[in-house]
């Protein structure tokens, strides 16, 4: 497997990028300001693009260069720009409706990372690849997944929920590049495309929410129960 037999420089580069992305997820988790979220998300996407380039170079997968360019353009520039426009339209710049304060959510996030590591380590041992970059990738992938769910659960602004979903997808994207760099190009392209469609949809929905429900907080959306 690709991620097991790596030159030491490559292995440390991959680890560095993966861990930096995870840290940025924590930045998002610990911040109240929506613009900080967006910035952290954009930087995370750029790091993932760098990771694609590095994997493409060391693993000889030239199509990953294309993916890197697309990631940087779509996730690093276009998506944050679209979201920024929504933030400006809605005239909210900070999270007002959190169920859990940022500091507590950081602690919960750390616990989730430990859980992800335990799972990934278990898988690594059963495959006989304990301690390799693959285990780290799996840990980061699962952690970002869990942190994304945490953000969905404790944050109330619609923008935070959209960003939570995007962190979920970034986690999958990051992990899949290290674990399965040879996954057919088509799938990755379509995932990128799909993400764009999601955000377009969300943009429209947010507008609907403002027009017809008069709120930008998902907390007010709880009339349908039972």
């Amino acid at each position: 497997m690709f991620a097991v037999h790596l030159p030491p420089l490559a292995a440390s580069l991959f680890s560095l990028l993966a861990i930096a992305s995870l840290l940025l997820a924590f930045v998002m988790l610990g911040s109240r300001w929506l613009k900080d979220y967006l910035l952290a998300f954009a930087v995370q996407s750029w790091l993932i693009a760098l990771l694609s380039v590095a994997i493409g170079y060391y693993g000889h997968y030239p199509e990953l260069y294309l993916i890197a360019v697309l990631t940087a353009l779509f996730r690093g520039l276009l998506l944050p720009y679209l979201l920024l426009r929504i933030v400006r339209q809605m005239n909210v710049d900070r999270e007002l409706h959190e169920r859990l304060s940022p500091s507590s959510s950081l602690v919960v996030g750390a616990l989730l990372v430990i859980f992800a590591f335990v799972v990934a380590d278990h898988v690594g041992i059963s495959l006989g690849i304990a301690g390799s970059v693959a285990v780290l990738a799996l840990t980061v992938m699962l952690s970002m997944k869990l942190i994304g769910f945490l953000m969905l659960a404790v944050r109330g602004e619609v923008i935070s929920q959209i960003l939570g979903l995007l962190v979920l997808e970034n986690g999958i994207f990051l992990g899949s590049q290290i674990l399965v760099p040879g996954m057919p190009l088509l799938i990755e392209l379509v995932i990128l495309f799909d993400l764009l469609v999601v955000v377009a949809c969300f943009g429209v929905l947010v507008r609907y929410l403002l027009l017809h429900a008069g709120t930008s907080s998902a907390h007010d959306l709880r009339r349908l129960v039972g």
């Binding site: 497997m1 979920l168 999958i172 992990g175 929905l205 429900a213 349908l224 039972g226």
Partner: protein, 506 residues
Amino acid sequence: MDANDRIVGGLLGVILLAPLAAVLGCLLARRPRPAEYLNLTAAVSVLAAVLLLLPRALVRTLTFWHGYLIVDALGAWVLLSVASVYLLSSIYAIGYMRRLDEAGRLHRFYALFAGFALTTLCGPLMNNIGVYWIAIELTTLVSTFLVCFELRRDSVEAAWKYIVVVSAGISLALLGIILFYWAGSLRMGPTYDLTWAALRTVAPQLNPTVALAAFLLVLIGFGTKVGLAPMHTWLPDAHSEGPAPVSAMLSGALLNTAMIGIVRFLQVADRGRLGALPRLVVVSIGAFSLFIAALFIVRQRGIKRLMAYSSVEHMGIMTLGFGFGGPLGIAGALYHMLGHSLNKSLMFFGAGNTMQAFHTKRISRIHRVLRSLPASGLLWLAGAVAITGAPPFSLFLSELTIMRAGLAGVNAWAVFVMLPLLVVIFVGFLDHFRAMYFGGHTAAPAGAQTGGSAGAARAPVRESVWCVLPMWLALVPLLVLGLWWPQAISHYFSVVAAQLSGKAVP
């Protein structure tokens, strides 16, 4: 490629291109009437093509378009349920949507409706697992806009919950798919096409830990879309807030398309060395869905939410059938799928008619349905009896078959959970109908004061043919299939069961 293959290819073209043409036509026409009939024409041709496809899909499994499209017996059966619901709800939509007073946007509704049908029809035909995931995600995106088509506060709320919960859930399925690909790449090399067949072939050599984690993720992910408890939270909102034809499509067509993913992954899990755990989890989730549905059905106050929880119930029963497995379990579950699709469409149509006649969706404000809606009220009542699994309708037969399959297997405990819950649901569901049809003498004067608009509508409402005809079209096959289980269908199911268990096709 022989003649049969070419015919199947042609039928496939009709199934996919007819709704596509309807989408484009509706957008170009920009007027309500042509859009209605374009969508209806597409629905008729899709159902005709699927009916012609069924016997041919039985002969052997075919792939098209460099292996991206697959036509197999299981997929064709799901297509049949989807196409039936698409036709029924297209007929019904004509009558229902004309009363909504949205003529200016109606062409957009039909474009979205046909697009939703297209994505739902694509799902069972996808051979590449990644592309299947994308098809499922697209169904969510398109149907979100249908759910909030009426632009009321509640429907926008429902649409928002729908897209957030389902997108988050379905991303777990993507994680599972990637883990499957990773586990497979340890055997098959770094680059290969992740088709259902490839995954089945490599399944016995997969690392059991990774495969089990991947299977559970996929089950939760697609289970969210199927509406299995505890991931069902979006379902009652989305189903109750969309226009009635959309609710019928969501319940009767969309859920089945996601169910096929679970069935196919279950087949992969069977080939791997995963032991009894996958089936145990599937059966437990099915039984838990029944439990949750029973709780919420008994104390439900909204008509369409009642129908939505009934969908959770029936998806649970189907999951039990597939989880029990064996030829009997699969036959029962597939029979249940078609029966549920027809029956739930009937129920949502009846609910739509009642809501339009009484101008409320609360059960407590609806009285004496038969007085206002003589024809569709009667059909709705018959449908209510049918959907609770009473004889002589087809859901009775399929539930019985699933229970027989369960008793023969290792998870027989689930049958003893299922049976009392079914009784509870039967009583709870029909009690709501008793209240709506025969109760409520005291409320009649209150309705008279407000001119009959808010409460009981006294005089019979004019029932449009478009709204009653699809109810007949759903009820008659339900009754026929309940009285007589055709031999041809039994043979069909035995082929599906053989394909799923990996034996040679008889």
